[in-house]
């Protein structure tokens, strides 16, 4: 079953991202938005965790990364989506798990 996980909190401020990674299965997608986008910044322990998570697709909401000035610093292998892309991910998934 294709599951979409969404994370909107900074990995430094809350354990939502860490908990999400612990429970996300191979074949699922993790979308980072709002302050969650900071997890996708190269050079952080969160980005290391992303590169070690095999079989999980990671996406970042572009407008949120741009707002925070980190769009040029995203770690490799992370897909950037816009709001329409967010909707597509939801539509393609059987279930959405929001890690608040």
């Amino acid at each position: 079953m294709a599951m979409l996980h969404t994370v909107n909190k900074s990995p430094f401020e809350s354990n939502s991202f860490e908990t999400c990674l612990g429970l996300a299965k191979s074949g699922s997608t993790v979308l980072l938005f709002e302050d969650g986008v900071y997890a996708a910044t190269a050079g952080t322990s969160a980005a290391d965790a992303i590169s070690n998570a095999n079989g999980i697709t990671f996406a970042v909401l572009g407008p949120d990364a741009q707002a925070r000035g980190i769009d040029g610093k995203l770690a490799d292998g992370i897909k950037v989506v816009d709001y329409d892309g967010f909707v597509d991910l939801v539509a393609e998934s059987d279930q959405v798990q929001a890690w608040l």
Binding site: N8, K9, S10, F12, E13, E34, D35, Y38, T41, A42, G43, T44, S45, A47, G62, P63, D64, Q66, A67, R68, G69, I70, D71, G72, K73, D82
Partner: protein
């Protein structure tokens, strides 16, 4: 007699309203001619990143306002080194904030002071009032 006021900023911009509220209070407080300093620690360092563009999220980009602080004699901006490093950032990723020193023929000087956690602890200890955001 003027007191030492520190505004301690610990939150990322946009996700919550703390960063914007802090900036508003700093600008209001600057009118009272106190000895004001700002500290950015933890996710607070994200407030100062350069290249912020909020066109896509429908929120006001308040980051250009930080560059006006120098004109309000707010020129002691402490950024904690460890917080930057944890986030994969360096000073180059932050805005270059400056102020003009009236006593030295308006020479332009850096406002940001990169300090270690231990150094910041001493700065904090030296304040009369700390306002936390």
């Amino acid at each position: 007699m003027s007191k030492k006021f520190m505004y301690l900023n610990r939150k990322a911009p946009y996700g919550t309203v703390y960063a914007l509220e802090s900036l508003e209070v700093v600008l209001i407080g600057a009118a009272f001619e106190q000895d004001v300093s700002l500290a950015f620690i933890g996710d607070g360092v994200y407030q100062l990143t350069k290249g912020q563009n909020t066109d896509g999220i429908g929120m006001k980009n308040f980051s250009p306002t930080y560059s006006a602080l120098g004109d309000y004699d707010v020129n002691k901006i402490y950024v904690e080194k460890e917080s930057l490093e944890e986030r994969g950032l360096t000073l180059d990723d932050l805005q270059h904030l400056v102020w003009e020193d009236e006593d030295e023929d308006w020479a332009e000087k850096d406002s940001i002071r990169l300090v270690s956690r231990a150094e910041l602890a001493d700065v904090l200890d030296d304040q009369d009032v700390v306002l936390s955001f």
